[in-house]
């Protein structure tokens, strides 16, 4: 009896708060990307922070987050449409489209880091290195071979996972901070390796041929119904597809027994062992899946940028990826998307701060750790199926 009453009490949550939040965010993002004047951008940013703070103060954000928990599939579809609208609005703007693609691919990479750190608790400070391995894969394969470019992407992921498996032994034999130090060492080693290898272009790096699928060259502008679309639209579509795929995989991973295993071993390895969990197997699984996602994103990013060099994939870039994770809310994929937009777009638009951007990152991370230690959007309790009722 009591069970049925509780279910009746929880009537279906309306989808509107989520839809409205998504619409407001889309319009805001378009405005932020379109505005050029520094004063206006600063005003927009201040207004954005004020609105979010006010919404949080009045408890509106909780409504939005429960809405996302209940209607995730529908709102996810709406988010894809929102991304398409933003890209369509800037259909001929190379710079903004490149920025959007950067957001999409960094999101894929941080989703990979999220599987490693957010779920399995393995802190990877070599994210940018594995991203770089993906990018170098497309550079080498597109230059020296005729492997189909769409196939180059998963190969980049596989190579990043393979390179990561070099790290597995030391990472599994160490704990916490020490494992993190191992990944830092890897980042430094890889950079040196790339710099001394002339086949890979040495310190100057390599050109990467753009993507071509079945004769469709991605680096030509698109003529469509009398409009000239930026060639970045090609990459945008592939990047968005990749992000949606990665998001679904990571989401399903979390909402499965595997996600539960990873949480269990992160929170208490001894207890996890006592209930038959093969800790090593699951840590390896998480680490490889994470690196695979990072590598794919890197492979595509290499083709988008058209150029790879050791200096593009440094320890500092890895720190940016980790700070996205901290900012968004460790373990919450939606939070990561929001955080990636903030971390990638804000410094790019705020040209006045120039090289002070790292200061901005540092301040952001400190502020988050002080005032919202679980990130902007803390991870909710696991729901295996959105909207599922007993």
């Amino acid at each position: 009896m009591s069970a049925s009453r509780t279910i009746a009490k929880k009537a279906r949550v309306s989808i509107w708060p989520g839809l409205i939040a998504l619409a407001v965010a889309t319009v805001y993002l378009i405005a932020l990307l379109a505005v050029e004047k520094q004063a206006l951008i600063i005003a927009l940013l201040v207004a954005g922070i004020a609105v979010v703070a006010a919404a949080a103060w009045f408890g509106l954000l909780d409504g939005v987050s429960t809405c996302f928990v209940e209607h995730e599939d529908a709102l996810g579809a709406c988010a894809i449409i929102a991304a398409l609208i933003v890209a369509a609005y800037f259909y001929d703007n190379h710079f903004v489209l490149l920025l959007i693609i950067t957001v999409l691919l960094y999101s894929v990479a941080t989703l990979g880091l999220n599987v490693q750190f957010g779920y399995a608790g393995v802190l990877n400070f070599a994210g940018a290195s594995f991203f770089g391995i993906g990018a170098y894969t497309s550079a080498v394969l597109n230059t020296y071979t005729s492997v189909p470019h769409l196939l180059v992407l998963p190969i980049g992921g596989l190579l990043a996972a393979l390179a990561g498996s070099l790290l597995l032994l030391p990472v599994l034999r160490t704990r916490g901070h020490y494992a993190a130090v191992v990944t830092i060492a890897f980042a430094l080693l890889l950079k040196t390796f790339l710099e001394v290898n002339d086949v890979l272009g040495g310190p100057q790096g390599m050109q990467v041929k753009g993507m071509t699928i079945l004769g469709w060259s991605f680096n030509d502008n698109i003529k469509f119904a009398g409009l000239s679309l930026s060639f970045y639209m090609n990459y945008f579509v592939v990047s968005l597809t990749l992000l949606v795929g990665a998001f679904v995989v990571v989401r399903r991973l979390e909402r499965s027994w595997i996600g539960l295993n990873l949480d269990a071993l992160r929170l208490d390895e001894t207890a996890a062992n006592c209930f038959g969990l093969d800790v090593v197997r699951w840590k390896i699984t998480a680490f490889l899946i994470g690196n695979f996602l990072i590598g794919i994103a890197g492979a595509l990013f290499g083709m988008v940028g058209g150029f790879v060099a050791p200096n593009n994939y440094t320890f500092a870039d890895s720190l940016i990826l980790v700070s996205i994770l901290l900012l968004g809310g460790i373990g919450n994929p939606w939070g990561l998307l929001v955080a990636t937009v903030i971390v990638v777009v804000v410094p790019e638009k705020l040209q006045t701060i120039q090289e002070y951007r790292f200061l901005l990152y540092a301040l952001m991370v400190i502020a988050v750790l002080l005032f919202r230690p679980e990130g902007l959007l803390p991870r909710p309790v696991r729901r295996y199926f959105p909207g599922w009722r007993p």
Binding site: S2, R252, I258, A271, C274, G276, R382, R383, Y384
Partner: protein, 257 residues
């Protein structure tokens, strides 16, 4: 009758301290065995050695007919032994359901394809597991059964103990090890918890239990037999009343007169 669990000459030392000193111990199927003794007498160490958390320095362990000396925690669990911990070791940010499912590991399909792609089959297993977990929790506290997807962090100690015991019971183990289930609870709460454990056992007569406990009322009420440890050795064995009257046991607890 063959023993379910046998320890022969089991030893464990930490530096110069002998926590287990050639312990011999036999557990027969379907009994409730009380393991008592003063602090530091080796009760929890015994649990940790047979569940693979510590390595024994000497001796043998047989469980359910197989040699399980220094078997890994994972192998021990798969063989049908599960436990609770003296200081609750739940995963606090996870929900009640999640915590119980950690204990159900061996029955859940862990395949990548099953978990990521075959979501329909996964949902079926999920719903079955939910029903089983809910039914088990209902035995202990019906109100908790309506809160299966709330984090454990907000729950009082007694509920956490209940969930820990559910986590150990969900996989239908042959042997349940309870390490001081009354720690941190009031007298009445402990009595209630013990009744629930007896209720679960009444439904499943194949369940054997070893309980470590300082609350002698609990030991007297629920155990068939007691073993008293002191300095890692067995000093007495028998029904509670007999061992409680044993002068050696009284000396161990109270000191020599």
């Amino acid at each position: 009758m063959t023993a379910l669990l046998e320890a022969h000459g089991l030893s464990k030392h930490f530096g110069g301290v002998l926590a287990l000193d050639g312990l011999d111990l036999t557990v027969t199927p379907n009994e409730i065995l009380g393991l008592i003794g003063p602090n530091g007498s080796g009760k929890t160490t015994f649990f940790n050695v047979i569940t693979g958390i510590y390595r024994a320095d000497g001796g043998q362990v047989r469980f359910d007919g197989a040699n399980m000396t220094n078997a890994s925690s994972r192998a021990v669990y798969l063989a049908g032994m599960s436990r609770t911990f003296q200081r609750s070791r739940l995963s606090l940010p996870l929900s009640i359901f999640d915590n119980i499912m950690i204990g159900n590991h061996k029955r859940l399909n862990q395949g990548l394809w099953f978990n990521l792609v075959a979501r329909r089959a996964f949902k079926h297993e999920f719903e079955e597991s939910y029903a089983a977990a809910r039914a088990l929790v209902e035995v202990f506290e019906p109100e908790l059964a309506d809160r299966m997807f709330e984090p454990v962090a907000g729950l009082p100690m007694i509920d956490r103990r209940r969930i820990e015991i559910c986590r150990a019971l969900i996989s239908s183990p042959k042997l349940l090890l309870l390490d001081e289930p009354s720690a941190g609870m009031t007298h009445d709460e402990t009595a209630e918890l013990m009744n629930d454990i007896l209720l679960v056992r009444a439904r499943n007569q194949n369940l054997t239990i070893i309980i470590v406990e300082h609350e002698m009322g609990v030991i007297e009420r629920i155990t068939n037999r007691c073993i008293v440890l002191n300095f890692g050795r067995k000093i007495a064995e028998g029904p509670y009343r007999a061992v409680a009257a044993n002068p050696q046991v009284q000396e161990a607890y109270l000191g020599a007169a």
